[in-house]
Symmetry: C2
Subunit: 196 residues, 2 copies
């Protein structure tokens, strides 16, 4: 019932990802994405009420995919080993998904999205953040026996901020994260988690 689509949500999001990975968030214009697809601009607005909503959807898709895998590894087995494995999994995810990694690791949300989340996805964003927070607390409890603020800071530093900081330079230069990091980062993380 109705005309068959030539460009669906997936096509549009994929084109937007390509553009952002190749030329940065500034290149993700409606006209640019439509041009890559050979689509008229109107077709993009048929799928997404605004450019913000398009970009937000893309970001959430990628972030959810990453976070799901990350938290799943973080939750398994011995906590010491789980922490190290989660770091390795993050590095490997970046290697398997170089374009998604550029989107997620290189650009903060504020560069892609001025202002607040669009209403349509505010719930998704809040749920995503909530699951991250819960996963971090669960790991902090298992690994450090505490969910105090300093303990949570350590966990976030060791498992999120340091790996991202370390991988950034490689990702920025369109390389895959160096395999040196596979041994250096877990060592640094343990130093932080087990330090005085």
């Amino acid at each position: 019932m109705g005309r068959q689509p030539r460009f669906d949500e997936g096509d549009i999001l994929k084109a937007a990802l390509h553009r952002i990975a190749a030329q940065g968030p500034g290149a993700a214009t409606i006209a640019g994405i439509a041009g890559d697809l050979g689509a008229p601009t109107g077709s993009l607005y048929h799928r997404f009420r605004s450019k913000d909503l398009l970009v937000a959807t893309l970001w959430l898709d990628v972030a959810e995919e990453f976070q799901e895998g990350f938290l799943s590894v973080l939750g398994g087995g011995d906590p010491v080993e789980a922490g190290r494995s989660a770091i390795l999994w993050s590095l490997d995810w970046c290697r398997r998904n170089p374009e998604r990694a550029r989107l997620l690791m290189l650009h903060r949300r504020s560069e892609l999205l001025e202002g607040e989340w669009p209403d349509e996805v505010a719930g998704r964003a809040a749920a995503l953040a909530g699951r991250a927070e819960a996963g971090m607390r669960r790991f902090a409890k298992r690994r450090l026996g505490s969910v105090s603020k300093p303990a949570l800071r350590r966990v976030r530093l060791a498992l999120v901020d340091l790996p991202i900081g370390a991988a950034r330079s490689d990702i920025e230069e369109r390389r895959v994260p160096s395999h040196d990091l596979d041994s250096l980062l877990p060592a640094a993380a343990d130093a932080i988690l087990d330090g005085p």
Copy 2:
């Protein structure tokens, strides 16, 4: 010989820094900066041939100031202690210069400057990068006894990428880098530098 200026380079750069620190690089428009100063847009173009040149000058001013202090600390005394001190100095610089820190730590060059360095400052940029490279090599030689690629990678990771990654979340939320980092980061750096 000629009319006295109401707005000099320093005023303009300061206004640009305020804007970028407060609202991100996207807010550093010529009209915006001029508006903050109460100046006409023409006056900005009297000082800077283009917006790119203005932003590039600002970035180089800040980067040179930071790097000079950083390398000076990194070059002194016992190398093990110098590495730790350089990290602490970086954190302290961010605390003393919150706006400059936002500019330098939060935004990569590519967010501020699309494309290449303007001709007028290409030499300055190259010299800055050269001094950084030289300082890193000197430290790698003293601290690890080698200037091999893996050794340089470790040094850059321990002294640059990790501290920036660690400080980012605080800086992003307009806080001063946590004092936890003063002990956690040197420990992580040593783990990386002294690791197998």
